[in-house]
């Protein structure tokens, strides 16, 4: 009788311990997704709510690349160069690491999900020192668009994630 009471108490405390530990583990896993030392690590959120970007970044980038390359519309919200500028980590000496290098921002997820995107066969993997276009002011503008991110997230939750999929481009 006494031993079974002790066992029950033991199991209860174990369950309570797990219940407390799981969110802590999740929190740690979330924070480690952004490369330490990158500009992104100092910001609260990405150019869209983090959950949305994780799920749809590839679709957003694919849609906006056609807008830029074919239509010449450079005001697009999602830009691979902006991803790289913000998410590239630095080594101990302070020089930028390629975002697709082992363990870096892009590779970390793509590796575990076994996807190999071709983006970086052509696109640059570190911020371009020659480029003025994606200066901090341009990034500030992107983050200004984030001001309504919380309401946007609410709408995602109410409508479901698929309501926010980008429309395809009609081409002849």
């Amino acid at each position: 009788m006494r031993s079974s009471f002790l066992r029950r108490k033991c199991i209860t405390s174990l369950l309570a311990g797990i219940a407390l530990a799981v969110p802590a583990l999740q929190a740690e896993a979330e924070s480690s997704l952004v490369t330490e030392g990158s500009e992104a690590a100092s910001l609260d959120a990405c150019v869209a709510p983090t959950q949305e970007i994780r799920r749809y970044h590839m679709k957003y980038l694919k849609h906006d690349r056609d807008e830029v390359v074919i239509e010449g519309d450079r005001r697009v919200k999602y830009s691979l160069a902006a991803c790289v500028n913000c998410h590239a980590g630095t080594d101990d000496a302070g020089s930028y690491q390629p975002v697709n290098a082992e363990g870096q921002f892009c590779d970390a997820c793509h590796d575990s999900l076994a996807v190999s995107p071709d983006c970086f066969q052509c696109h640059r993997t570190t911020p371009d020192p020659k480029s003025k276009k994606l200066s901090s002011s341009a990034l500030d503008r992107l983050h200004d668009q984030m001001l309504d991110a919380s309401t946007h997230l609410d709408s995602i939750e109410s409508q479901g994630l698929y309501a926010n999929e980008p429309a395809g481009i009609q081409r002849d």
Partner: protein, 250 residues
Amino acid sequence: MSNKSDQPSMDRRQFIGGTVAAAGAITIAPGVILHAVAGSEEPSAGASSKHRWGLVVDSNKCADGCTACVDACDEEHNLISHDRPQTDAKWIRTVKLKDKLTGKINRLVMMCQHCEFPPCVDVCPTNASFRRVDGIVLVDRHRCIGCRYCMMACPYKARSFVHEALHDQAVSAPRGKGCVESCTLCVHRLDYGNMTTACQEACEKEGHAAILFGDLNDPQSQISQLLLKNNSTEIRADLELNTGVRYLNL
């Protein structure tokens, strides 16, 4: 996508750019005009068919031995040489023409002629070669499969194929192994309101001013006025491609 109507139009930006350029043009020596960069840095709201961008190259002003424009293009787009001239990417190259009868030598630069009816677009099996509505002929590398039909079709030998894996590309000119590429008329500058190409800028800096970029559709533009007052040549005019690059004194 987003609401486009609340953005400044191309016309407004061009007007502002033109005004700034007119105010900022300084003559630093006879024939040497330093243009203030007319870039508003405002991203383009999309190419417009109201414009047709083109170049005029003055063969008389193109100086023998000078490669300023070629070097500037390489620098601008990070076209790295592998010391293999046969296959190295070149978006602009110098050409000498000799009249066999008189011995007169003409020098000019050759690049994508941005045809109105581009043969490269006709033959492309994937629609990777395309003509933007403002007349700039480009390669969408997301679609290019590297078949090189366009290189065969181009009468001007203006296109290059990337044979080597690349890294550290310019952010404004993503390019990689297995794709065909050519002159983009510095579309990355134009789309941010900078109305000068890298080659024109370099040529002016050298003091030759043999290259002029501008809007062929705008009768008031410097390029249209130059073409109105001078005899110009379209290379291989017999093909009736209506090129966007014209030559003077050829």
